[in-house]
Amino acid sequence: MRILLVEDDEALIKVLTRRLVEHHYAVDAVTDGVAAWEYASTYEYELLVLDVVLPKLDGISLCQRLRAAECTTPILLLTGQDTSVAKIMGLDAGADDYVVKPFDEAELIARIRALLRRSSTNPLPVLTWGELWLNPSTCEVTYADEPLTLTAKEYALLELLLRESQHVFSNEEILESLWSSEEFPVDATVRSHIRRLRHKLTAVGAPPDLIATAHGRGYYLKPLFPEVSSQGDRPLGGSDLEHRQHQQTQYLEFLNQTWVTTKEKYLQQLRELQEAISRRLDATRIASVGNACFNPQQQDAAYRIAHTLAGTLGTFGLSEAMRLCRELEQWLHPDVSLLPQHVPHLEDKVNALQRQIELTSTIQLPEQPSTTAPRLLVVDCDQAFANALKVIASQQSFYAEIFPTISNAQDWLDNCPQPPVGLILRLLDTVSTAALQFLQQFHQDYPTLPTAIISSQDDLSERLEVVRRGGTCFLPKALTPEQVMRAIAQQIQETSGQQQRTRVMLVDDDPILLRILPTQLESWGFEVLTLNDPLQFWNVLEAIHPDVLVLDVQMPQVNGLELCQVLRSDPHWQQLPVLFLSIFADARTQNQAFAVGADDYLCKPIAGIDLANRIRDRLQRVRVWTR
């Protein structure tokens, strides 16, 4: 970021330049208004810092001239005059901010930062791109919480890319932003800085093309995340979950940072509310009337404060404060008169709200149900255990709907807008008949969803009862909430994996089979890609990355056994499930197939459902092994 500093005091120039360079800004400094005009008309700056009293052309006139020439660069005025008139004159001349000398250097830098933020497309105090974080106020940079040590230019380059994250920066733009006019870097300098920055980023785990090259155009930040899918109901898979957790962590950090800067404002709004209420109550007491009615304007103003605070404090996760605001909002609604019985409690409510805000120094994860987080239905009469489970569930991006009784849970299920992704049934001691009936009904309604039953009675008959009614996970009561959550989350992930279409690569030279089997398998939820030329095997395999491979044994030029050997000779493909499908039913061929790495062997002809079941079974085994 390049800044033009216009100041006739050489000593101040020296101090300010040093301070700005420490914050990774490139600085051009001139000592009179005419030189400033020439520099500002010739070079591109992100910010102009102008002294008001300048030789040749004063700061106010310079400011007016720049604005008349349609220069939109932010301008910060420095002056010794601390009067409203002087400030108004400066701001009316087109300045964006005004700092009075002597000033605190840290405040000046903060104001510069704020002005630069406002003029960028990313006005947030912390710049982020996926897992990359850059905090301009501390100059700290991290990737996935790993700190990066950058040179001043590398830092400035990264900040530039982050500030305009949807812009492709040409070499010229980067040179103009990052180097002062007295330096004469060449294009190769930009390239070498980009190279070093990429190297440092990849060293901490960032993808090598995080800073992407648009050939012939420049550099930009490559979007990291998959675009938002319109299929919002899809359960989250493993990497989605991790990604979501990381986002939640960053969101929480962001809320905390914002809370620090806005908390005082909310307290101020509350003080206004308190004063309005106190004045009203005093007036009522003096007049010795029982009804402490606000006039309509007062009541409307108080209502608006309560309403706005309800939404905002709720978004910060202060659920108790939000509840108090909602109550006040209801009492103060402009369409209804304040009820006499509410009057004595108004001050108490506002004071309680004030305490809630004052006591909140750290924002916790918002407690309101996330509208899109997958719901986990939990029936547990042990409140402490259920609460612990809820916290752990939210850390894994689930929202636990907790009910103390089966009938409460049933009520919720009857009315829930979207079905849960799993059920945890934690029972007192033994599994009651009602619990078994509930489990059976749940399994009938949601046959593919995992259900964890937690019981202190651990014997075969109980386990049998549970699995007969559709239970997929039987857990002893001694397990901790973390262990319970881990078990159910694993099953949910597996279920979500199964629901995503499994990609099957079918290699066979029989055209009829290649026509029929895909249709049959697709009706069982598989995506089938066929290949009739074994010589194209490797190219197609690498291109489509199948989840399962189905091979014929006998094919022209290269047979299936050889293809399997080729596959297994590559470490990357050793986990891929391979099923042989052949007309050879003899033991020798089958043994050969298993010897070269087959996982299963099936004989033609085969029904689609049989092949589908064998594929599904193989995938399930693989998932269990790779846990």
């Binding site: 006005p123 979007p223 990291l224 938002v228 969101y251 608006r304 709720g314 899109t372």
Partner: protein
Amino acid sequence: MSIKRVLIIDDEEAIQKVVQFGLQMAANWEVLTASSGPEGIVKAQSSQLDAILLDVMMPEMDGLATFRELQLHPDTQSIPVIFLTAKAQAAEKRLFNDVGVNGVITKPFNSLDLPEQIVKILNW
């Protein structure tokens, strides 16, 4: 889906920031902000927006008045508008529906969820 450009009009700066953070972080959308109805209308006229998130209760020009104003301008009448409100009563939702807004999102929210909610509401 291409990158969307969304305008948030809310007099509460913290809500602007939180919405901006969520839409950028979760979906990499471009987010413009405005602190009042009139400011939002000016930005909407010049910014080629894909959607507007509009706070209902704002001083001077509230969300409903802003929405009606947006509907009057040929440049802005076809931009989808979603109300942000701390009220969730059915009667108010019906009123919003009757005036023709595309949807309502209730505060409080986790702003990381907003892109999915918006995608659903607007059938993107």
